[in-house]
Amino acid sequence: MTHSSLQLLLLLVVLTDFAVLGTSRLSACIRWIAFQGAILGLLPLVTEGGLTMHVVALAIGTVIVKAMLLPGFLRWAIREAAIRREVEPLVGYMGSMLFGAAALGAAFAVANTMPASARGSLVVPVALVTVMIGMVILTTRAKAVTQVVGYMMLENGVYIFGLTLARRVPFLVEAGVLLDVFVGVFIMGIVVFHINREFDSISAANLTELRES
Amino acid sequence: MNITPSSAIAFILVLLIAPAVAGVATRTKSVLTGRQGAPALQLYFDLWKLVRRGAVFSETTTWVFRLAPAAMVATTVLAATLLPLDGRMSFIRFSGDAVAFAYVLGLGRFLLVLAALDTGSSFEGMGASREVTFASLVEVGLFLSFGTLVVVTRELSLSGMLGMPFAHHWAANAPALVMISIGLFALLLAECSRVPVDDPSTHLELTMVHEVMVLDHSGPDLALILYGSALKLAVLGALVVSVLIPRGGLPAAGSLAVLGGGLLAIGVGVGIVEATMARLRLPKVALYLAGASSLALFSLILVLWTPA
């Protein structure tokens, strides 16, 4: 049962990836990424090996950080900096969807070269897809906030991979990872906030003063 | 220093008849062009006259101007000491003395050119510039000829090349040696500023080379210069004679006779050229010298490709 539910959750993750990719409203983006964070929180519970203290703590921590704190913080940034609500893609939604599809294909292509032992599990391909779609969002969205969202998704992708190793990697490490991600996004938020104050438009595409003329 | 009676006599002979050689040249020319002309010994009289004259020096000139004529004669004399004038042995002999022969003449030229620039006159500057131009091209042909002689005789000193056994080499390499003899004669005409490179008898400064260069010298200095150039003609003539007529086999007296006769013949030859040819335009001179050098080059390649 755990295995099938794991697969189910992973599929949900992929769906959220595409949801973020497809939505045009910033708040919706953040909601989806929060949702994804929640799913990530559930993941360790359904991996083999049953419930240990370690796993539970990890799940709780993940949900708190990824599903509550960070999205909430981003909302705060949006509200405070009075950021307009559109995502402002540099590439159209259709285009980014296509990129996503390509990423999906690429992920499975790479996963197919995996050693037989790891085949069948969706973990690797889903992680890769999430990483790549995170990249797509980072590279195709104009707004700094959206790029933060993209970074979070990329981070989630990596994290999915980590969660499958929950028992190998001691808790301290996960804690460190979570903390780092949290602080990182926090600082990014601060900067986003400042950017908006300095350049009265949040579009990262305007940040091109430093260049080789 | 190895001075034998014959070499000493030959040396003195050359020093003495040098002016005559130049005289013979002018004489021949005037005869062939059907003019009265000066006697063959005219140059002796001129020298004697000049030596008794006083001198005028330009204010701009320095000691270089006064030193040059003496130095020029000295260098030419030294060049003579390197040639086996009696067909046997020179006063000073060492391997590679051919280099010294060419370069010591160069020293004399160098000082003479400086003397010309010393006067600060555009005419003499012009003459000097032309002199060095032609001279530097002459060097090439000269050394090509020396190279040929080295390869032919497998000797490194002039005495060795042109001395005793030279006759044997003639048998093997006649064509090459004939060619360099002609080449050397052509170079002689240039080096001694004769027609077709220069015309000593012209009176238009703009067309002169050597004469215009020494325009400012007077009295004894002019005498030295006139004698020096005559001596140069004789010395180079002696070189041509030695290449053309190997005298190793002859007894000393005979070889001296040949030398004297040969020198006069050279004078005649120069005269004939002056009578029959016109002076070349300056741009053409380079071609003329290139032709003379290429003769020597051909002969060198010839002997290089047919090892002795």
Binding site: A144, F161, V169, G176, L210, E212 | -
Partner: protein, 480 residues
């Protein structure tokens, strides 16, 4: 326990510095901690290695090299900063000092951690500690710089994390070897799954390569170094990049131990050469001296991985180059910092004739020119020469040829700029500047660093030689 102290002490001090009110006190604290840190690291050299946190923190040869480099560099920079903070107050000084100390702690953690995930945590922390330092001036340019730096290095570091996890996956599930602990990884290298290992190495190279600034992942470098205060630039180019290189080196150690040479070396050589190429292309006709230094840093990062890639004595040279490059980069940034303070700009067209305006710094800049371009008798000459001869000995003559070509172009570019800065007539604005008057605290640091680099070019003490040799051996190289 010493290891733990080395990591924790600066962190605690950083916290303390944030609450200290008087600027003098903060500077004093900074200096004191830096000195203590260097002392502690010195102890590591004489005292037999033990471990802390169950082997997670342990000093090995490579780590010791990096740690000593970081410590010495930080000490000099701290001394410089003490003088610097007397005139300037970046971010009011408080956060500045705290972040500096946090940075020291994070880099020490990277250098000491034997657990790769812990190394990753340290690496990410360096990013976070440095970000506020870059943002010392609250203006658009520094804001843009810090934003680009944050996004790019976060992405990079995320990929590095992926690499760490992949490596963990490569370890066999049945116990025996502890997860992600370097000694176990190396000893049990034969039992690692090659596929995961390759994948993890690829992502590690991209991830840590971004932090190092290998082309084409270097794009944040000129902006960051150009905007950050010079001493921060010095720390980043000298210490931070070295730590990032340590990250790549750790994964290389494992890969080499697992016998993946044929897979790893071409990647390293290729990225090294490409970095050299890009650096050369952007150094020619560069208009801003700080950006020039940034590209020079790209060049040296390229040389580092190149040496790693060719192997043999090249790897030895690479480890040696790690030290030399770190020191000389610090020296150059501090020197340029003086000139920038004098002229108020880092654009060459406005800073001619510095020999008149700031003689000492200008002479130091000339020294730096020859040192950083690997001219004898400076240390970088030895290391670059080792790398080139390594390339030739390991049968990569064309790599050597390309490297030399790039080095020539780079030399021409750097020389052109530094000649323009040092020589000639000062541009109008500089004439008001007090000629000469340079405070000792601004020149002692560069002089010391230049001195060390010069010394390393003439004499390498035996213990250092031994450590470098062993480190190179652990990276699949050989001591000459």
């Amino acid at each position: 326990m010493l290891e733990l102290l080395i990591v924790v002490m600066p962190l605690a001090a950083g916290g303390l510095a944030y609450v200290l009110q008087r600027a003098r006190a903060r500077s004093a604290l900074l200096l004191m901690i830096a000195t203590l840190h260097t002392g502690a690291v010195g102890l590591l050299w004489v005292r037999p290695a033990d471990s802390a946190l169950g082997g997670w923190l342990m000093v090995d040869d490579l780590g010791l090299v990096v740690l000593s480099l970081v410590s010495v560099l930080f000490l000099v920079v701290a001394y410089y900063a003490a003088g610097y903070l007397r005139t300037q107050t970046p971010r009011g000084g408080r956060a500045f000092v705290s972040c500096l100390l946090a940075f020291l702690s994070a880099t020490s953690l990277v250098a000491l951690s034997q657990h790769l995930a812990l190394l990753w945590v340290g690496m990410e922390s360096t990013t976070l500690a440095v970000a506020p330092l870059i943002y010392a001036r609250n203006d658009r340019r520094s804001l843009e710089a810090v934003w680009k730096y944050l996004v790019l290095s976060s992405v990079g570091i995320a990929l590095a994390l992926l690499a760490v996890f992949l490596l963990a996956t490569a370890q066999p599930v049945d116990g025996g070897s502890r997860a992600l602990l370097l000694p176990d990884l190396i000893s049990g290298a034969s039992r690692l799954d090659p596929w995961w290992l390759r994948a993890s190495f690829v992502f590690a190279l991209v991830g840590f390569g971004t932090k190092m600034g290998l082309a084409p992942l270097h794009t944040w470098k000129p902006d960051t170094y150009g905007e950050a205060p010079s001493l921060v630039g010095g720390l980043m180019a000298g210490a931070l990049t070295s730590c990032a290189f340590l990250g790549v080196a750790r994964f290389t150690q494992v890969a080499m131990a697992a016998g993946l040479q044929t897979f790893v070396r071409p990647l390293l050589i290729a990225s090294g050469l490409f970095s050299l190429l890009v650096a050369a292309a952007f150094i020619i006709g560069q208009a801003d001296v700080k950006r020039l230094l940034a590209y020079s840093s790209v060049e040296h990062m390229g040389l580092l991985v190149l040496g790693l890639g060719v192997g043999g004595i090249g790897t030895y040279g690479s480890v040696l180059h790690l030290i030399n490059n770190g020191l000389i980069k610090g020296m150059l940034f501090l020197t340029v910092g003086n000139l920038v303070l004098a002229t108020g700009t880092s654009v060459v067209s406005d800073m001619h004739g510095m020999l008149r305006v700031r003689p000492v710094s200008a002479w130091l800049l000339l020294v730096g020119l020859f040192a950083v371009t690997g001219s004898p008798p400076f240390g970088l000459f030895i290391s670059e020469f080792s790398i080139i001869s390594g390339a030739i000995r390991e049968h990569h003559p064309w790599v050597a040829g390309a490297t030399v070509l790039m080095l020539t172009i780079i030399f021409a570019g750097i020389a052109r700029m530094i000649i323009d800065i040092a020589y000639g007539e000062p541009t109008g604005a500089d004439d008001e500047l007090s000629s000469g008057g340079e405070r000792a605290s601004f020149v002692v640091g560069p002089v010391v660093l230049a001195g060390i680099v010069l010394l390393l070019g003439l004499y390498i003490p035996a213990p250092l030689r031994a450590v470098i040799g062993r480190a190179a051996a652990s990276l699949g190289g050989a001591a000459p």
